[in-house]
């Protein structure tokens, strides 16, 4: 299969991989770069499970060609925190019970981190609108909203 080589910065580290031209950034992260944290739930931009930051902008990695990420910076859920040093959003998701099956969680964690970066104390409406592109099938969203408020230090 035809291959092209891409070089990019992922979670602060320079990385290189061969890709096939038709592959998405999501596929390259998951299958070629050993970063399966971004999830493959719909691959059509309808669920947000694959959310990453591309040059600091929240995007669905399933809708970015791997080749388009060449020479760019990507932050994935794996880059947000470590087991002994969770990002405050990650900590809040665990504490609030915002995780069930967890397949939507990495995307929601990235989207929430992005929201709080831009809007440190979002209103409930802002939270709902900012997360409206991240589908969750298990929780009914209530505990996710709790987690966002918890991470932002907002009293519910």
């Amino acid at each position: 299969m035809p291959r092209l080589r891409i070089s990019l910065t992922i979670n602060g580290e320079p990385r290189e991989t061969d890709v096939w031209g038709g592959e998405s950034l999501l596929y390259a992260l998951r299958e070629r770069l050993d970063l399966p944290g971004s999830k493959n739930a719909c691959e059509q931009g309808e669920c947000g499970s694959c959310s990453v930051l591309l040059d600091g902008v929240l995007v669905c990695s399933c809708l970015v060609l791997a080749a388009q990420a060449d020479s760019h910076e990507v932050t994935t859920v794996e880059g947000l925190g470590a087991a002994d040093d969770l990002h405050r959003v990650q900590e809040a998701f665990v504490a609030a019970g915002a995780v069930q099956c967890g397949f939507c969680t990495p995307g929601l964690v990235v989207a929430t981190a992005d929201l709080l970066e831009r809007v440190p104390a979002p209103s409930d409406d802002e939270i709902r609108e900012a997360l409206s592109g991240n589908l969750c099938r298990c929780t009914g969203y209530q505990k996710i909203f709790d987690a966002v408020r918890l991470a932002a230090g907002i009293d519910a």
Binding site: T76, V94, G97, Q100, C138, G140, Y141
Partner: protein
């Protein structure tokens, strides 16, 4: 390929946290999940791995004249192209009846039915090879209308569900037909209300698509790592088709991205194993979203005819209901859904006389099977609409009417079963009715807090508020004589720490923490490790379904822990290793002709929930926003209250979806909305705040008094939200999902 097993990425260890029964415990898998390190089935990777791909039927009904794989086999990167001819063992499988071909043989019966499988080095190579397979189909007229199915040519002339103790129905395409005759169904009432209700087909729409990895063991056997709901029943279906013994097939739980019934039936398990054994390489399957919609069963679409009779003062005297369920192309669990729909058709009300007829049929529509609520969702929607009609006809408050007829311990189900466990129907009704919804909000407001949401379609024009109330119930655990059990194994070490083995599938519901909480409580230590969920080291846990797992796992782990402690004490220390199998109290089948119990009970226990819902509807555009939901649910005992709340909120969201937006649409059997673009599930802007009251009335027979909690919210919310939309619009709205057309045209 050597006999050594390629390294699988390890699942992060499940670390115990403090927390015993009754305490809100943060999930032990929470940290790996928020870090993106939890290994779901689609994340698995093995050295030398090939990618599997499935060629599926583009037709709902056709005869296969020819399958020519010659062009595909030699394509770049392709290692195997297999058809039904390559299935070495039994050619068919099924959850309850083996009526479904592993790969289509001479006929396809539904759109998306697997016809051939391919293994290649890259998924694109596998796709191109599948495209190069030439299949000659001779199109047949699809049986698309379930109401006409019994007059059409049989799709399964050998009638696979006959001879299993069900009522014999000579009509063609009947999966199961049952009748429950209770008291005198000719009993009259002072008033009669009737109605015909329809429920569309709902998809489980779990976010983690069907995925798995099959690895040959080098000795003729295979290990399958898969997202499933029941490891042992997968194994028992896979092995005969491969021509292997069950010992040669080991099924291991990979991370599961939601299930909701949709992973009860097999997806890639046999296909992956076939390709792995054929190529002697690990083979991974990951369905895409479109394939996922055809790759699992759905909730049965239903049509329900009802007649309710009552006295002038509001006592129900007689109910007559006829239920038709479209089972689709294969049986799956349709027979049990048929029975469940009938068993709970009346709602949690005292009814002395009833005639309930419930039928499922084969069609060429997508196969239907298990989904959260399992038959009770459909009939609750119909029965609760009838209760509101009755209340209106009688001029009685709908909540009062429900209280007046509320079922309680000491009463009988229409199957003749005495309710001898906990069933606080009146209590959940009172508690839910007492919840105060938020005061109506004025205008203007941001459009995202209005019906139509982000679409900016109103600033308040056309918006009417409505309030609905509903009650729903269903059984907990398996029924009708199924020998339901759950095994747990405890290795208790000399230092007091322990390893617990249980094959119960963690599908997101939190059973992992139930296991740990019970073990901590029983063993009095936090030093507990949960072994991987697998068929290889412990007996069957049964399925993650029927709201049964909390009960069954609690019993099994409790029994095994206590036995281990006793054994250790008997031996005066040292390491002990014991396995215990927990059974709930036995049930027996229903009489095939009368639908009455043949022993003491057909169902083990019941759980009930009541819900009040407030909606705002733009009656000119037919758009809805659910404003608030308040619910009271009978949970027996909440083992982990935070997780119980999460189940109730999540179940409510799924019910909201069915009430307002979710439906698998078909044209002549073909699914036309197999994507998250056109099959819509609720977003963060669709879900309202949910006020939850847990009613703890311990179930006498259940370990720790706990009932499963997953299904009741998905049952009652459909009816409650539909009632609220009726209240806002004044329309009958006899069908869910409620479409904009139904409201404003």
């Amino acid at each position: 390929m050597s006999a050594t097993r390629p390294k699988i990425k390890a699942r992060p260890p499940t670390r115990p946290r403090l927390g015993k029964i009754g305490e809100s415990v943060p999930r032990s898998d929470g940290t790996p999940k928020v870090m993106g390190e939890f290994a779901y089935a689609s994340d698995l990777h093995a050295a030398d791995m090939l990618w599997g791909h499935t060629l599926r039927s583009p037709h709902a009904h056709a005869r296969i004249a020819e399958i020519d794989i010659s062009q595909a086999v030699g394509m770049p990167g392709v290692h195997a192209v297999l058809t039904h001819a390559d299935v070495p063992g039994r050619k068919t499988y099924g959850l309850e009846f083996t009526d479904q071909p592993v790969l289509a043989i001479d006929r396809v019966r539904y759109f998306g039915e697997p016809v051939a499988v391919v293994a290649a080095e890259h998924p694109e190579q596998a796709r191109r090879a599948a495209e190069a397979i030439r299949v000659v189909y001779e199109l047949l007229e699809p049986v698309a209308d379930p109401e006409r199915a019994t007059e059409m040519e049989p799709l399964h002339p050998d009638r696979p569900t006959m001879g299993h103790g069900y009522r014999d129905d000579p009509r063609s395409n009947v999966v199961r037909h049952m009748v429950i005759r209770h008291g005198d169904p000719e009993t009259a009432g002072d008033v009669t209300v009737d109605g015909v209700y329809e429920v569309g087909s709902q998809d489980q729409a779990f976010l983690g698509p069907e995925s798995g990895l099959a690895i040959p063991d080098g000795e003729g056997g295979v290990d399958i790592y898969v997202a499933t709901q029941w490891l042992h029943v997968d194994r028992d279906q896979v092995a005969p088709c491969l021509g292997l013994t069950v010992e040669q097939v080991r099924v291991h739980l990979a991370g599961v991205g939601g299930a909701f019934g949709g992973r009860e039936d097999l997806s890639m398990q046999i296909h992956g194993a076939l390709l792995a054994l054929h190529t002697n390489r690990p083979v991974k399957f990951v369905y895409n979203r479109e394939e996922s919609f055809t790759g699992h069963v759905h909730r049965h679409p239903a049509k329900i005819w009802c007649e309710h009779r009552a006295t002038r003062d509001g006592r129900i005297t007689c109910v007559r209901m006829r239920i038709l369920l479209d089972g689709g192309a294969y049986a799956s669990s349709s027979t049990t859904v048929t029975s469940n729909a009938a068993s709970f058709a009346l709602g949690p009300y005292r009814v002395d006389n009833a005639l309930i007829e419930s039928t499922s049929v084969y069609t060429n529509n997508p196969p239907c099977g298990a989904m959260r609520g399992f038959g009770a969702v459909q009939t609750c929607f119909a029965a609760e609409a009838q209760m509101d009609r009755l209340a209106a006809e009688l001029g009685i408050d709908p909540v009062e009417l429900r209280l007046l007829n509320a079922l309680a311990p000491g009463d009988y189900l229409p199957t003749g079963q005495l309710i001898d466990g906990a069933l606080p129907t009146a209590e959940v009704i009172r508690r839910a009715a007492a919840l105060e919804p938020p005061a109506p909000e004025g205008f203007p407001r941001d459009p995202i807090r209005l019906p139509g949401g982000a679409g900016n379609t109103t600033r308040g024009a056309g918006v009417h508020r409505g309030v609905g109330f509903a009650v729903g119930f269903k059984n907990i655990c398996y029924s009708e004589g199924f020998d339901d059990s759950c095994a747990a194994r405890v290795q208790l070490y000399a230092d007091g720490s322990a390893t617990v083995h249980c094959a119960a599938t963690e599908v997101g519901q939190g059973v992992t923490d139930v296991i740990l909480q019970v073990a901590r409580t029983e063993l009095g230590t936090d030093r507990i490790t949960l072994a991987p969920h697998t068929t290889a080291t412990v007996g069957s846990a049964g399925s993650a379904s029927a709201s049964r797992l909390t009960w069954m796992v609690s019993g099994a782990v409790r029994d095994a822990c206590r036995a281990a402690l006793e054994e250790q004490e008997r031996r005066e220390g040292g390491e002990v290793d014991v396995e215990r199998v927990h059974h709930h109290r036995p049930t027996t089948p229903l009489d095939p002709e009368t639908g009455q119990i043949t022993g003491e009970r057909a169902h083990v226990a019941l759980a009930v929930a009541a819900m009040r819902a407030v909606v705002e509807v733009d009656i000119d555009l037919g758009l809805t926003r659910v404003v608030w939901v308040g619910t009271a649910q009978d949970v027996g005992k909440a083992i982990n209250p935070q997780a119980v709340h999460g189940q109730i909120e999540g179940g409510t969201a799924q019910g909201l979806g069915l009430a307002l937006m979710e439906e698998i649409q078909t044209r002549d059997g073909r699914i036309v909305n197999a994507s998250f673009t056109d099959y819509l599930i609720p977003t963060a802007l669709d879900m309202p705040p949910v006020t939850v009251v847990l009613v703890e009335d311990p179930e006498p027979d259940a370990p720790y008094g706990a009932k499963g909690v997953g299904e009741p919210p998905a049952i009652v919310s459909v009816a409650a939200i539909a009632a609220a939309v009726r209240d806002a619009t004044g329309r009958a709205l006899t069908r869910v999902p409620i479409r904009a057309d139904d409201i404003c045209l």
